[in-house]
C-alpha cells in the first residue's frame, strides 16, 4: 500500500465529487426552491422523463418520478408514462418505490391492462418483509378495477387479513369494499374474511372492519352477535377515525337488535337493557376526545339510544366544540338545532355561550338566534331580550331581521315581556336604517293582530300607550318615515283594518274628525294618495284597499269620496296589471255605497248584476281575515336526523 496511490485515489474521488456537485449546481441551491423547480416543467424535460425512467441510476429515476408527481399536482394527466413507471415497481430504492406506488394508486384504475402486466410484482410484494410495502401492494392491487382479477384480489385480501401486522390487516379490511364494488359476486368469500377480521383482538383494524361490514353486508348484523360486547369494550382503544365508524355500526346494531329503554308511566323510572347500557357507558368517555367528529358520533349514540334522562349529556361536549374553529362551530350549531327538542332544558343554562358575535359567519348568526329563541324562558328572557335588541344594530340584514322577529316571538311566548318588547319595537320604528324599520313594522303588525284577536289582553292594556290601537295610531303618524314597500303596505293595511271606531263613544263633540273613522286614518290616505304614482305595486294595492275601507265606513264624507275617486282614477291607468284589476274589482264592489267613485263623475251605463248594500260590502272588506301568518316557531319541527348534509345546506 503506498501512500501515493491512496492520495491519488482520494484526490480523484474529490474531483469526482466536485464534478457531481458542480454538475448539479442548480440543485445545490439547497436553501430554497430545490423541489419547487420540479413544478415549472419545461416541455423538453417532460419528454426526458421516459428516458430517465428507463435509466439505471436511482437518482435519475427519482428525479423522473418527482417530475411526474409534480405534473400530477398541476392537474396534468400523465397516464401515458404508466408502462415506464410500472417497470420500476420492483426498484430496490424504497423512495423510488413509494413514489411509484403513489403514481400507481392514482392511475391503476385508468390503465387496468398495463397494471395487469405487473400483477406478479404486486403479488410478490405481498410477502415483502416491510409491512409498509405489503399494505401498499394490497392497496394498488385492490385499486386495479378489472373484474377478471377479482379472485386474485380476494386471495390477496385473505392472505393479508391473516398478516401479523395489524396495519396490513387494516389495509385488508379497507380493500374489501373496493373488491366488492368491483364484483359483488365475491360477497360470500368477503363475508367470511370479514368475520375472521371481526375476531381480531387488535383495536387497530376494528374501525376499518366496521367500514367493510357496513358496505359489504350492512344487513348481516347477526354476524356481530358474538363480538358486540368485546367491540364495545375495545372502543376506547380504537384510533379516532375507527371510533367514528365503529360507533355508527354499534348504534345501528343496538337499534336493530336490542330492546329500547322503557319509562314506566307512574314512577318515571327508566329501565334499560344491560347491553344497551354497555354501549352507552363505553361510549361516554369518548366525549373527551380531541377529535370533533368522535364527539359528534358519541352524541349520536346518546341521541338515538339514550333514555330521556341521558340525552341531555350531549349538551356540554357539543358546546365545548364551539370555540375550537369557526367551521366546527358552524356545523355543531346546525346539529344542536336538529336535536333541539330533547335538550332545551339542558341547553338553557348555557345560553351565554351562544351569544352572537359581530364577526360570526352569517349562517352561524342565524343558527345562534334560533337556538337562543328555543331556550327563552321566564327566567332568562330579560338578558336575551337585551341581546336581541343589540343584534338589531348589526350590519348583517338577515341577523337584524331574525333578531327583530325573535323579539316578537319572545313577546308572544312570555306575556310579561310584551310591554318591553313593544317599547323596543316602537323605538326601532325611529331607526335611520330602512331594514330595521321594515322588520319592526312587520313584527308589530302581527303582535297587534294577535292582541286584538284575543279579547282579554286587548281590554287589559287598552289604556296604556302600547295598546294595539295606539300602536297603529303611532305607525300611522310615521307613515312618511317608513320607506320599505312591504312595511308601508303593512301599515296601510293596519290603518284600514282598524280605522273603525264606535261612534257613540267619541261623537262629533270630541274632535272634528270624520264620523265613524279614527282621526288618524284619513290623513294616511291623503299622504299615500299623494305619492301614489311613485309607490311600489304592493303599496298601491293597499292604498286602494284603504280607500275602499274608509269609504265604506263613512260613505257620505265628501273629502273621503274625493280622495278615493282620485286613487281609483290613478289606478285605472296604472302600468301594473294587478293594480288595475284590483281597482276595477273594488270599485264595482263599492258601486252600491257611493256611485260617484265608480263612475268617476261621468255617467256610465249600468253593467247589470247584483249591487251590494253597504253592510254587505263592509262584511266583505273587513271580516273573515285569516289568522296571523308569521313563521312563528323558528323551525322547531321535529325533524331529527342528526348529521346529514341535507340538514346543513
Amino acid at each position: 500500500m503506498d501512500f501515493n496511490a491512496i492520495s491519488e485515489n482520494a484526490s480523484r474521488l474529490g474531483a469526482r465529487l466536485q464534478e457531481t456537485f458542480s454538475e448539479h449546481t442548480r440543485d445545490l441551491n439547497l436553501a430554497r426552491a430545490s423541489s419547487s423547480a420540479y413544478l415549472d416543467n419545461p416541455e423538453e424535460k417532460v419528454k426526458n422523463i421516459k428516458k430517465q425512467l428507463d435509466s439505471n441510476s436511482d437518482r435519475e429515476k427519482l428525479e423522473a418520478m418527482k417530475r411526474l408527481i409534480a405534473l400530477i399536482s398541476k392537474g396534468r394527466n400523465v397516464s401515458e408514462f404508466f408502462a415506464h413507471v410500472v417497470k420500476n415497481v420492483a426498484s430496490h430504492n424504497l423512495e423510488v418505490r413509494k413514489l411509484v406506488y403513489i403514481y400507481l394508486l392514482r392511475y391503476a384504475e385508468q390503465e387496468p391492462d398495463l397494471a395487469l402486466l405487473s400483477i406478479n410484482t404486486f403479488q410478490k410484494d405481498l410477502s415483502d418483509p416491510s409491512p409498509l410495502i405489503r399494505a401498499m401492494a394490497l392497496r394498488v392491487l385492490s385499486g386495479i378495477r378489472v373484474p377478471m382479477i377479482g379472485s386474485i384480489v380476494v386471495l390477496a385480501i385473505k392472505k393479508c387479513a391473516a398478516d401479523i401486522s395489524p396495519y396490513v390487516r387494516k389495509a385488508a379490511a379497507l380493500a374489501i369494499p373496493k373488491c366488492y364494488s368491483l364484483d359483488p359476486s365475491h360477497q360470500p368469500e368477503l363475508i367470511t374474511i370479514i368475520s375472521t377480521l371481526l375476531r381480531d383482538r387488535s383495536p387497530l383494524s376494528a374501525g376499518s372492519v366496521a367500514v367493510a361490514f357496513s358496505e359489504v353486508c350492512p344487513t348481516r348484523l347477526d354476524l356481530l352477535h358474538p363480538h358486540y360486547r368485546r367491540l364495545c369494550r375495545t372502543l376506547i382503544d380504537v384510533d379516532e377515525w375507527g371510533q367514528v365508524d365503529l360507533l355508527n355500526l354499534l348504534t345501528r346494531y343496538a337499534r336493530t337488535m336490542l330492546p329500547r329503554h322503557t319509562v314506566s308511566a307512574d314512577s318515571g323510572a327508566e329501565e334499560i337493557d344491560s347491553d344497551l347500557k354497555l354501549v352507552l357507558t363505553s361510549a361516554e368517555p369518548l366525549f373527551q376526545s380531541q377529535n370533533p367528529s368522535v364527539v359528534l358520533a358519541v352524541a349520536r349514540v346518546f341521541y338515538y339510544l339514550g333514555p330521556p334522562s341521558e340525552v341531555s349529556k350531549v349538551v356540554c361536549p357539543l358546546l365545548r366544540l364551539l370555540p375550537t374553529a369557526p367551521e366546527v362551530e358552524r356545523v355543531v350549531l346546525a346539529h344542536l338545532g336538529t336535536v333541539l327538542i330533547g335538550i332545551q332544558q339542558a341547553l338553557s343554562p348555557f345560553y351565554n355561550r351562544l351569544l352572537v358575535r359581530a364577526d360570526d359567519v352569517r349562517q352561524v348568526k342565524k343558527d345562534k338566534v334560533r337556538l337562543l329563541c328555543a331556550v327563552i324562558s321566564t327566567d332568562n328572557y330579560q338578558p336575551l331580550l337585551r341581546e336581541f335588541i343589540t343584534y338589531a344594530d348589526d350590519t348583517d340584514d338577515e341577523l337584524v331581521a331574525d333578531a327583530i322577529r325573535a323579539i316578537g316571538y319572545c313577546a308572544r311566548l312570555i306575556p310579561d315581556s310584551t310591554q318591553q318588547c313593544l317599547t323596543a319595537l316602537m323605538s326601532f320604528i325611529q331607526s335611520k336604517y330602512d331594514v330595521v324599520v321594515a322588520h319592526a313594522v312587520l313584527v308589530l303588525k302581527s303582535l297587534v293582530q294577535i292582541r286584538l284577536q284575543s279579547p282579554v289582553s286587548a281590554s287589559i292594556s287598552a289604556s296604556t300607550s302600547t295598546s294595539p290601537l295606539s300602536i297603529i295610531a303611532r305607525l300611522a303618524w310615521r307613515i312618511d318615515e317608513i320607506h320599505h314597500p312591504k312595511a308601508r303596505a303593512c301599515v296601510l293595511w293596519l290603518v284600514g283594518q282598524y280605522a273603525a271606531v264606535e261612534t257613540q263613544e267619541n261623537g262629533a263633540s270630541l274632535h272634528a274628525g270624520i264620523e265613524g273613522v279614527a282621526d288618524w286614518a284619513p290623513d294616511v290616505l291623503r299622504k299615500s294618495v299623494k305619492s301614489f304614482a311613485a309607490e311600489a305595486p304592493i303599496v298601491k294595492l293597499q292604498i286602494l284597499t284603504l280607500a275602499a275601507k274608509l269609504l265604506v265606513l263613512c260613505p257620505t264624507d265628501r273629502t273621503l269620496e274625493l280622495l278615493s275617486r282620485y286613487a281609483f282614477a290613478l289606478a285605472r291607468y296604472d302600468l301594473d296589471f294587478d293594480v288595475r284589476d284590483r281597482a276595477r274589482m273594488l270599485s264595482s264592489l263599492l258601486s252600491g255605497v257611493n256611485a260617484a267613485v265608480v263612475h268617476d263623475g261621468e255617467s256610465y251605463e249600468d253593467p247589470g248584476g247584483v249591487t251590494l248594500r253597504r253592510e254587505q260590502v263592509r262584511m266583505i272588506l273587513f271580516e273573515g281575515k285569516l289568522g296571523v301568518s308569521e313563521p312563528s316557531d323558528f323551525g322547531m319541527s321535529g325533524s331529527a336526523v342528526i348529521s346529514r348534509i341535507v340538514g346543513l345546506t
Binding site: 439547497l30 399536482s73 413514489l99 367500514v211 384510533d239 367528529s293
Partner: protein
C-alpha cells in the same frame, strides 16, 4: 363515513395539491373548486362565506357539499357527498394541517410547493382511496414518510438518496403503541408543557360582561427516551371542566382521581384542552377583562368621527400586540386618524376594517385613537362592536400549576419545564 378527497388551493384559487378522486367523474373536483371560488368572489366580506357550501350534484340521489377552511394563505377543501357528516371532513382537514405543520413548521403555499413530493406521500398515507383516514399519528407517519431535512437534500444531490431511509433506526409500523415511536433515545431527557389560555368575552355597552369564558390548552414537547409512563398531577385541577384529551391519556384514571396517566408520543403534541371555571363561582363571570374601552362614535352623512380610549386595568403586567378592529360598514372608503403613543393604525379597503395596533400596553396606561372616516353610502352602518385581541406573556388566568410528574418504566429522571401564555379575544359593544 368517508370523504371524497382533499384539495389544497393557493391564494389565487388554483389547486396546488389534489388527492386522487376515484369513482367520481373527473369534473367532480373541478365543480367543487369552482363553487368555492364563485362563492368567495361573490361574498362582500371573505369571512362571510358559509364553510359548508352546497354544490349541485352530478347525480340526483347524492347531495354533495364542499367543506372548506382557510389555512395561512391557502384554502383546504374537502368535497363530501351522500350521508356524510361535514364535521368528519373538518376533523380530517384539521388533522392533516397539524401533520403538515409538524413536518414543515410555518405553512404557506410556497412551502408546500417546495415539498410537494413529501406532501403527496403524506396525503397517500393519511387518506385511503376510499376516503377513509389511515395513519394520522405524527409519530407513526415519521417512520413512513421522511421529513424533509438538509441532510436528505445533500444526500439526494450527491446521488445517494437511497441511503437516507435505512439511517432511521426504526422500521415502519414496528411500535406496539400506535402514537409513539419505538426506540427513541435522547441524551437529555426533558419534557415541556406550554399552557396557553384564551379569554373569550363579550362586553355590553355599559361595560358589564355578557359572556366570558377561558379556554385553555396544554401543548407538550416530549423528548424522553424509551417508553416512559408518566403520571402528572395539577395543583388546582378542580377548576378545569369540559376537558378533552390526547388519545394517549388513560381516561378512567382521570375520571377516578383527576390525574393524567399516559405514555406520551415523541415530539410535539396537544396534551389536553379545558375550560377554566373557577371553583368558587359565586358569580357567573369570574375572569375580568384586563382593560376597558371607552368610545364615542358620531355618524353623519357619508362618514363619521370616532374617539376611542383604551385603558389597561392591569397594574403590574404589560399586554402585548393589542389589536382593536372595527368594521366600518359597506361602502366605507377611507379613514384618517391620530393615535397617541405613535401606535399604528390602518384601514383595509378589502375587508373595510379599521385596525389599531398597540405593540405594548403598559400597566394602567391610557391610549387614544381619534379620527374620521368616509363612506360612499349615505347612512354608514359600522359594526356594533369592536374586536379586541391581546397577548399577555408569562401569565395564565387559571394559574394552573403542575404539582408533580412521576415517571415509571424508565430509569432516568426527566427534566420538566412549564410556561404559561394567555391571550384574549374580546367583543366590546359600543
Amino acid at each position: 363515513m368517508a370523504i371524497d378527497g382533499l384539495i389544497i388551493l393557493d391564494s389565487a384559487g388554483r389547486p396546488i395539491i389534489q388527492s386522487g378522486f376515484h369513482s367520481v367523474p373527473p369534473a367532480y373536483p373541478i365543480l367543487h373548486i369552482d363553487a368555492l371560488n364563485n362563492a368567495l368572489s361573490a361574498a362582500s366580506r371573505p369571512d362571510d362565506v358559509d364553510p359548508v357550501l352546497s354544490v349541485p350534484s352530478l347525480t340526483i340521489d347524492a347531495p354533495s357539499a364542499c367543506c372548506h377552511a382557510k389555512v395561512a394563505d391557502m384554502r383546504l377543501l374537502c368535497p363530501i357527498s351522500g350521508d356524510v357528516d361535514p364535521l368528519y371532513a373538518f376533523a380530517f382537514m384539521q388533522t392533516f394541517v397539524d401533520i403538515l405543520r409538524d413536518y414543515f413548521g410555518q405553512l404557506s403555499a410556497e412551502t408546500l410547493k417546495e415539498n410537494f413530493d413529501v406532501v403527496y406521500q403524506l396525503l397517500e398515507e393519511t387518506l385511503d382511496s376510499g376516503g377513509h383516514p389511515l395513519t394520522t399519528s405524527p409519530n407513526a407517519l415519521r417512520d413512513i414518510v421522511l421529513p424533509p431535512s438538509l441532510l436528505n437534500k445533500v444526500l439526494s444531490v450527491a446521488g445517494v438518496s437511497g441511503l437516507a431511509t435505512p439511517l432511521s433506526n426504526s422500521q415502519p409500523f414496528a411500535s406496539p403503541i400506535p402514537w409513539r415511536k419505538a426506540g427513541v433515545r435522547y441524551n437529555n431527557n426533558e419534557i415541556y408543557f406550554d399552557v396557553a389560555e384564551t379569554l373569550e368575552a363579550i362586553i355590553n355597552k355599559n361595560g358589564t360582561p355578557a359572556a366570558s369564558n377561558v379556554w385553555g390548552r396544554i401543548e407538550s414537547n416530549c423528548k424522553l427516551s424509551g417508553t416512559p409512563d408518566l403520571l402528572l398531577t395539577f395543583s388546582n385541577f378542580q377548576s378545569l371542566t369540559d376537558c378533552s384529551f390526547h388519545p394517549c391519556i388513560r381516561l378512567q384514571r382521570w375520571a377516578r382521581d383527576k390525574t393524567l396517566s399516559f405514555v406520551p408520543p415523541d415530539g410535539h403534541f396537544k396534551l389536553m384542552e379545558y375550560r377554566y371555571a373557577p371553583a368558587s363561582a359565586s358569580t357567573m363571570h369570574q375572569v375580568a377583562v384586563p382593560f376597558s374601552l371607552r368610545s364615542s362614535i358620531q355618524l353623519q352623512e357619508h362618514g363619521g368621527s370616532f374617539d376611542v380610549t383604551l385603558s389597561s386595568r392591569l397594574t403590574t403586567r404589560a399586554m402585548d400586540s393589542v389589536t382593536i378592529e372595527l368594521f366600518l360598514g359597506e361602502g366605507a372608503s377611507g379613514a384618517s386618524c391620530i393615535s397617541s403613543h405613535n401606535a399604528s393604525w390602518s384601514f383595509d379597503l378589502r375587508t373595510l376594517t379599521l385596525k389599531w395596533e398597540l405593540k405594548n400596553v403598559q400597566p394602567s396606561g391610557n391610549y387614544t385613537l381619534r379620527g374620521t372616516f368616509t363612506s360612499t353610502t349615505q347612512i354608514p352602518r359600522p359594526s356594533r362592536a369592536f374586536r379586541v385581541r391581546f397577548d399577555i406573556m408569562q401569565h395564565t388566568f387559571s394559574a394552573l400549576k403542575i404539582d408533580q410528574l412521576k415517571l415509571a418504566g424508565e430509569m432516568y429522571k426527566p427534566y420538566k419545564g412549564m410556561r404559561g401564555r394567555s391571550a384574549g379575544d374580546i367583543e366590546w359593544r359600543w
